[in-house]
Subunit: 288 residues, 2 copies
């Protein structure tokens, strides 16, 4: 996480930065179905930085590490003439040969997600709004939920483990750069097409509220906003019901949002009006 | 490795930066006697950077990875409004319970190093010299050796392994911030004193030449210069001869430079004139 790219003083406290830096790394383990074990933390600290900021950063790191049973076992600290850079690298374990990949989606598979999308991007949008909206008390509470989702995302470790244990998941990816970008990654890695169904994509009520309040499109945040750290995966039609029941039993969220096809490659969206449109391969790209 | 802290355009090419970033991380494995296995590389790239610089960086990373049998298995790339930051984290393996530590030095131990020190700092001094010296052809060759040691250090993996296998090494540390700083780390972690003997400390002939040419002290670079990535360790008096023979047999360098004592704690230097002086706990400190 790089200061002024992933966060700034307005959008996140340093404790949030620590929490999220580790959470984002753990999300890559969740996407393979792995159990988190160890983390290494490398800090690049502005040479005039206030020491209490490092302490806050570590409070956040340890809060996340504690929640997911991760041991922070090493790292490095260097100074910088620029801003903060927090690099977290994680080591996890998964049963031999059973790590989930992006490249195993099959034509006919059901495409699913593990939670609401777009909330983090909407929270960030509100934090960065130039002319702040004056929300009511109810609206303010909803906005705080969105902000919390931007600042303290929860990597889907339990869902990843449930998918490995179900022995039914074909492909899996975590959603760090938006649904469109991550669906494209599976489509390209598996050489298949993904048809998303707009009517099936769940919309968080808080996100819906803020979309209306701000005059923006919830679907844009869902498709092209990042940092929700939910999972997108595929399972065969025959096993989808079983996986859904397993998720229900474990109090995990499972929502069908589309299907895998060999009629085209890439990602398309079946809109509520019955038309089908290409979904561009975009999301947050550091070098776009 | 942080641009304008660890390197700049004058001191290193990007290929050197890649090589050295991995080499420095591997040195921490050498210091524990581990076999390198995997590396994760996280790059923070200025958002206007020339792509060929990344390619050069990876050429250097792969050159070092190939030399030490390390697989680069992942990482991350982000943009930055500041300079380059290269974070390399490595995973290695060592026999259970046999990793070498800083905290196991015993009174009476022999203190040894695995190679010449101060060369990297002298090479850097020459690269940064404001009024460059006009060297002769022979001197130029020597200076190029010093520069090469600054740009392409060799972590002492084989020496670390030899020490684990000898089952005779008490404490071990790698010399990334100068002999003084790393001897202090062992002294403090082991709660003992280290008496270095100036007459025993080997001085690289190229270093000696540049010290004379520049009117500076070779011993200053040895004690307080960093980034040589040699090892400093301790073995019992009884086993020192055996370890020295093992090193000789494996064509590794072993040089006694002092002894461990419980008469004082910290680090002292027995000078050539017979006097003993305290060695300050200094070296390169990012936040000094």
């Amino acid at each position: 996480m790089v200061q002024d790219i992933h966060f700034n003083e307005k959008t996140m406290g340093m404790s949030d930065v620590g929490f999220k830096a580790l959470a984002a790394a753990l999300s890559d383990l969740a996407a393979m179905g792995a159990i988190p074990r160890y983390a290494l933390v490398s800090l690049t600290v502005p040479n005039n930085a206030d020491l209490t900021l490092s302490q806050q950063l570590y409070e956040g790191l340890y809060a996340c590490a504690g929640k997911y049973g991760v041991a922070i076992v090493g790292g490095d600290t260097t100074s910088s003439l620029g801003g903060w850079v927090i690099t977290v690298q994680v080591v996890g374990e998964v049963e031999a040969g059973r790590a989930l990949l992006r490249s195993s989606a099959c034509s006919g598979d059901v495409v699913f997600i593990t939670g609401f999308l777009g909330c983090s991007a909407a929270g960030l949008d509100y934090l960065n709004a130039v002319s702040p909206i004056k929300p009511s008390a109810d609206q303010l509470e909803a906005l705080e939920h969105l902000i919390e989702k931007h600042r303290r995302p929860f990597p889907q470790i339990r869902a990843g483990r449930a998918l490995v244990q179900s022995d039914s998941c074909h492909a899996l990816n975590d959603i760090s750069d938006g649904l469109a970008s991550e669906a494209w990654e599976i489509a390209e890695a598996s050489d298949i097409g993904i048809l998303l169904n707009e009517a099936w994509i769940p919309v968080d009520p808080d996100l819906n509220m803020y979309a209306e309040l701000s005059g923006k499109e919830a679907l844009d945040w869902i498709l092209y906003g990042g940092e929700d750290y939910q999972l997108i995966g595929t399972v065969s039609q025959a096993q989808a019901e079983f996986v859904e029941q397993e998720f229900l039993r474990k109090q995990l969220f499972f929502q069908r949002i589309g299907e895998v096809t060999d009629i085209f490659t890439g990602v398309q969206l079946l809109k509520k009006d019955g038309s089908t449109v290409d979904v561009p391969k975009k999301g947050y790209n550091h070098f776009a």
